[in-house]
Structures are given as C-alpha cells and as structure tokens.
C-alpha cells in the first residue's frame, strides 16, 4: 500500500516539475527572436520627467485620472498634473498628433493589455495645437490656455 502511494507521489511530482521547466522555457523564448506576442510600442515623443515615476504611472495612471476627473467636473479644479489634457498634450504622436492609432501611446499599450479605453469617446485624442507650439507652459498650471 505504502509503495503505491510512493509511486504515485513520484509520478505526480515528476509531471509537475516538467510542467514548471516547460513554462520557464516559454518565458525565456519571449525575449528571443521567436517572439509570439507583439509587445506594445512605447514611443516617447517628449522625453523628460512625467508627472510621476514611470512605474507608478504604468500601474496607477487610471486611478489618478479618475480622481482628477471628479475634482474637475464637480469642483472646477483644473490643475495640470493629472489632467487628461496634459497627458494627451505630452504623449500624442508627433505625426498623427494623437494618442490613438496603432502606434499611439495609449492605444498600443491598451491593445496589448486588452483593456478598452473609454476616455476618447468623449475627450479628444489629439494634442492641443496651441499648446504644442509653445512647449513652455507656465500659465500657473491651468491646462485651459
């Protein structure tokens, strides 16, 4: 009886470890030339400091703009730091002037992550041409200039 259990245990353990090694191999191949999933294209048009650290922005940008949206709509607080307009003005593509499109800053990542963006059914995805001309926005943090 005991030996049967032992055999079963050895078999199970064997299968599991093979499984793990296969998975690990697949992980390695991701970085090689034989890539199967197209990675997002992250084009930074205006290099420099974002409004927060890159890691923080990648994980939490949605919370920041969600918080800001209520401040703006209900209280009329239009600070620049987390305003969607500010995001678009900085991150819009040089050629298309937009954050959407195959190589657009927002769309390319969202397509990769399979997360639908709702923002741009109402908000414009285009950079404000006026603000893009003068890069130095020193109008006391008001995005509406």
């Amino acid at each position: 009886m005991m030996t049967r259990f032992l055999i079963l245990f050895v078999l199970l353990f064997g299968f599991t470890s093979t499984g793990i090694s296969v998975a690990a191999n697949a992980g390695n191949t991701d970085k090689s030339d034989t890539i199967r999933t197209p990675l997002p294209i992250i084009k930074i048009t205006k290099p420099g400091q974002c409004v927060d650290d890159t890691d923080e922005m990648r994980r939490n940008h949605m919370n920041k703009i969600l918080h800001q949206r209520d401040l703006t709509v209900y209280d009329g607080i239009r600070t620049k730091q987390y305003s969607l307009k500010n995001c678009v003005n900085c991150h819009a593509d040089e050629n298309t002037n937009s954050v959407l499109g195959k190589e657009g800053f927002c769309e390319s990542c969202h397509t990769y992550a399979a997360v639908k963006i709702d923002c741009f059914s109402c908000h414009t995805d285009k950079r404000d041409v006026k603000t893009s001309v003068s890069n130095k926005d020193d109008n006391k943090g008001n995005p509406h200039q």
């Binding site: 209280d75 009329g76 239009r78 059914s121 109402c122 943090g141 008001n142 509406h144 200039q145």
Partner: protein
Amino acid sequence: MSISRRKFMQAGAAAVTGAAIAPGIRLVELAQARSPEEAASTAKRWGLLIDSAKCAEGCSYCVDACHTEHGITSNNRPETDAQWIRKVTAKDPETGYTHFLPVMCQHCEEPPCVDVCPTGASFKRADGIVLVDKHICIGCRYCMMACPYKARSFIHEDITDQKSHVPRGKGTVESCTLCVHKIDRGDNNTACAEACTELGNDAILFGDLNDLKTEISRRRRTEPSRQLRSDLNLNTGVRYQGL
C-alpha cells in the same frame, strides 16, 4: 468698574462685525481670481441678464459663438442636432408685437433635471452652474423631459475632434455649461455674451449675482426683469428684460 457688562458686550459685538466686514470684502476680491487648485464655491452664483429689446431679428451671433466655442457641429439633421442655445421668437397674437430672445439652460437654483436624474449625473455646481457629468450619464434623457426650457440635447452620433476643453460623446446628454471652462480660467464672461457685446447689441450680460458690486446685480436690483416660467419657482440664474 468703569464699563458695565452690557456695554462691554455691545462694544465687543461691534468689533466682531467690523472685523467680519473687512475680511468679507477681501474674500470676494480673492475669489474673483480663483486659482486652479481652488474649488468652486457658493460664494459665487453665476448668471445672465438678457434684454430681449436689444436682441436683433435674424441675428444668430450668440448661437454661432457658442457653437464655435464648444465645437458643436451640425449633421444637417436639425431634429437631432445638439443645440445649447437657440433664438426664440415671441409674438403677441393681439398686437402682433414680435421680439426675440436667446434661450439656453437657465441654471436654476432648483433644477428639475437634477431632481429626476437616476444616476446623479445631472448636478448643480457650488457656484450655481447646472452641468452633466458625462462619465456617469446613462443617456436615459429623463432630464430632457423634465427641463421646462428644452435646454438639453442628446448626442445621437459619434463625435470626433472635440475641443479639448469640451468633452462630448455619443449616448450622453449635454446643455449650456455657462462656459464653465472660461469661468474656471477667470475669463469672467461667456462666449455668447462676448459675441453680442462685440456686435454692439449688448443684449446679454454675464456676472456674479451674489456680488453686489457687479453690473448684473446692480441691474437686477434696479431694473425690472423676470424669469421664464416663473410659476415653477425654480429661481433661474438667467433672467430676461423686455418680455
């Protein structure tokens, strides 16, 4: 005891009143230039005073200015095109006297659209501006039914190339925002009032109804004006003269 307790209290009360008036005035001055970090407050109540006698026949300058400011375009389907402000013709059937008035959201103190909205999307900002939070509007259009002024429009079609300061999208309801983006940046005027003044007609006056020093509150105090459908007791922020 050189001063009675009663006298002392009176003097104290006078001193307190004096102190309150001075900072009160300062507060108003400060609030005029609201900084971007500062929330809109009940210290202000924005409104319009419209003189229909000065509004010219055939003129649609205010309507055009509003639609340009907010990026409202026509799909050539007048029945469903968005309209934030429209010219209304009023005619006395007895005498034939005809006059014209621009009608937009009246920014009621007691807005029926806010009462009926099931999601809370239709709301009144602290400074009296009635708005739609399109993030939570489900497009049920109850507010359109409730509004006695037919001020609201439903967006039936996809919209692209919106103005960055006026997000607009299919499936939501919208109306005059009293140029809230302009107010927030301290322009102290609306696109329609600016246009009418520029034209020289000066039929629309914008201002703070709470501040006794503004031209609008002076005229509201000294000249006759009335609300549309005053029977509903909505205390509208927009008032009319010459009706």
